[in-house]
Symmetry: C2
């Protein structure tokens, strides 16, 4: 194998594929990157058996071939080389040689035949969205994904396509995050639960642009496909929460509130509520809604905090306890200036919703206040 390529192009490719490299593994080959030439292209592949990433780029191929080299070491060396042409080849001792101006590096290689290539998957259903849209949908739901491996299905986000609407849903038993967008092409209904870990990596790889990305789903796998880059992931098995059934459709108390003011109040009060928390549930903040006013308060060993906001309210007065972190996470994921906050009773979940449309719903379960 012998290739010549420019540093900037190679770095772009490496930045994408290194996200798929296994970090803690007993199989050194999974810490590697598979480099394969194909006419005047090279294909870079990484695979940690959960996520696999493939990137194809043009370059000058002097001699066809393939090899596997430690991904981190290879990409770190490339990253620090000068911004010019780099000569990469495998020598007769099976070492990968990297040559660039006065620098010559030789790295041990591994057998490319032992590298687990990405599975060929047969897409059954797919949609196409803009990369920045997907980025947004991920960022605004993923924080609510569960970390508990005891219920693996909730460690992923549900992607549900129904009547040309994509809903992304995450839920961890204490709160739920739901984002919707309408697709502009006629699409089959389908759904799949994609691991949160994968979505985190996808989120780092995709750009904040209007470039398209295709999301395809097969029996056990999903595929994210962009211009030069493909990401293959397993999908999670099992029955996701029937989320539509758990989101209340009526409210007893509702307020229209400036998002930033509410967020700032919760941020300040968290300083007190979090400072002596041993178990999260122990020291909730108290949210009290009166006519035209909301008061958030908290008392513990550290001190005493009270936040008052004058807001437009409808319905009954109410007193209910919450973990302020869940409010904060949801509010941070909202770009709107104003939101509706809806309550049922002191033991019903609270909803944060858009004023103007149906783009998002965040649901937060209450915590019983101590008497």
């Amino acid at each position: 194998m012998k290739i010549i390529c420019y540093k900037d192009k190679l770095i772009k490719a490496l930045n994408s594929v290194v996200k798929g490299v296994a970090s803690k593994t007993t199989m050194p080959i999974l810490e590697g990157i598979l480099i394969q030439t194909n006419d005047n292209e090279i294909k870079l592949t990484t695979n940690d058996l959960e996520i696999g990433i493939e990137y194809i780029m043009d370059c000058e191929v002097k001699e066809q071939g393939s090899t596997v080299v430690n991904a981190i070491m290879f990409s770190e060396i490339i990253r620090k080389l000068p911004d010019t042409e780099i000569y990469i080849s495998v020598n007769d001792k099976n070492l990968l040689e990297i040559e660039c101006e006065g620098s010559l590096y030789k790295l041990a290689t591994m057998n490319p035949d032992e590298f687990p290539e990405l599975p060929k998957i047969e897409i059954e259903n797919s949609i196409e969205v803009e990369q920045n849209t997907l980025k947004n949908m991920i960022r605004k739901t993923i924080f609510a994904v569960s970390n508990e491996e005891t219920r693996p299905i909730f460690t992923g986000c549900l992607f549900e396509i129904e009547n040309n609407k994509l809903s992304v849903v995450a839920v961890d038993g204490f709160r739920l995050a739901l984002r919707n967008i309408y697709l502009n092409k006629q699409t089959n209904d389908f759904k799949a639960v994609i691991p949160g870990k994968t979505l985190n990596e996808v989120n780092k790889i995709i750009s904040d642009s209007f470039e398209p990305i295709k999301i395809g789903v097969a029996k056990n796998q999903a595929l994210f496909e962009m211009d030069n880059c493909k990401i293959v992931t397993r999908i999670l098995d099992g029955e996701f929460l029937n989320y539509k059934n758990v989101i209340p459709s009526n409210w007893e108390t509702r307020m229209k509130v400036n998002k930033s003011s509410l967020q700032n109040s919760f941020e300040r009060i968290s300083l007190i509520s979090a400072s002596t928390i041993e178990k999260e549930k122990k020291y909730p903040v108290k949210v009290q809604v009166d006519i035209g006013k909301i008061t958030i308060s908290c008392t513990n060993q550290t001190g005493d905090a009270k936040e008052e906001l004058f807001v437009a309210t409808e319905g009954k007065n109410l007193e209910v306890g919450f973990n302020p972190k869940y409010f904060l996470d949801s509010l941070k994921a909202i770009d709107d200036e104003e939101v509706y906050v809806e309550f049922g009773s002191s033991i019903s979940p609270c909803l944060i919703k858009s004023i103007d449309n149906n783009d998002y719903t965040y649901m937060i379960l209450p915590i019983r206040l101590k008497e």
Copy 2:
């Protein structure tokens, strides 16, 4: 105590004094900030018994008094309040009340009489420099300060004033960093070794401006004095290295080299040399100087690396081993485009010096190469 002050002014003061708050202590009072009114000023003081910081600011004092409150909690709350007037008072239950728009916080206080006030120190000698100059001198030497508490004197930087020249020197047994500047006022000769930890904090507090800072030295303490802010620190006891005697004055081999090129080469080669290092001394890089050329190389289990640079050389050819980290630290601290690198023999230290003047000398001890 009852005061009214603007958030931005108070934050500026808090940013300075919180650097002096004890982080791990069995004395909760040292985690506090002493707030004392004095006519139309307040004085904020923190003291971890090693460094003490005092900041005086104007504000509207409605009722004189003093209190101690947890520094981190207090400053975090202030930081998150809206950018406007803040009312701070101690209530009849001895709680500190912070009021601002719809927010009311009450924090436990401690007895101000128990707070260790800063010692009054009698300055014997002092100099004045610009804050950005001091910042520079600290940044460019402090990395060579020793972390080993077995020889406490080397955990500080020597500040030596001699013939109106200030030299700052750090040394850790493997390398030495020396920076000089000429003072523009007639000054007594004196010297003091100031703890690295203090200098790190001073460095964060002082600004990158031409504003003056006074450095004063007493028997056991040093004082850094700025406009509103005073920092008091102990000075280290003991005999510092007679550094002038250990810096070689002659060279056998010298090269004039582009600083960035040399730094980039060492950065790349560190990827290989550091990757399998168990003990730093075990895998040095080899520096070989031939006529018109320097070659830096390294071989170990990870791979094989070679860097060649074409440079202007004088004197003998030479081969010598180094820990590349020490070269990198020194090169990063230099802003010049070109530097001299001087060698004695393969067992003598190497010097990195300015081409044009005597502003700095970095000395690095060699490592014996394995045969």
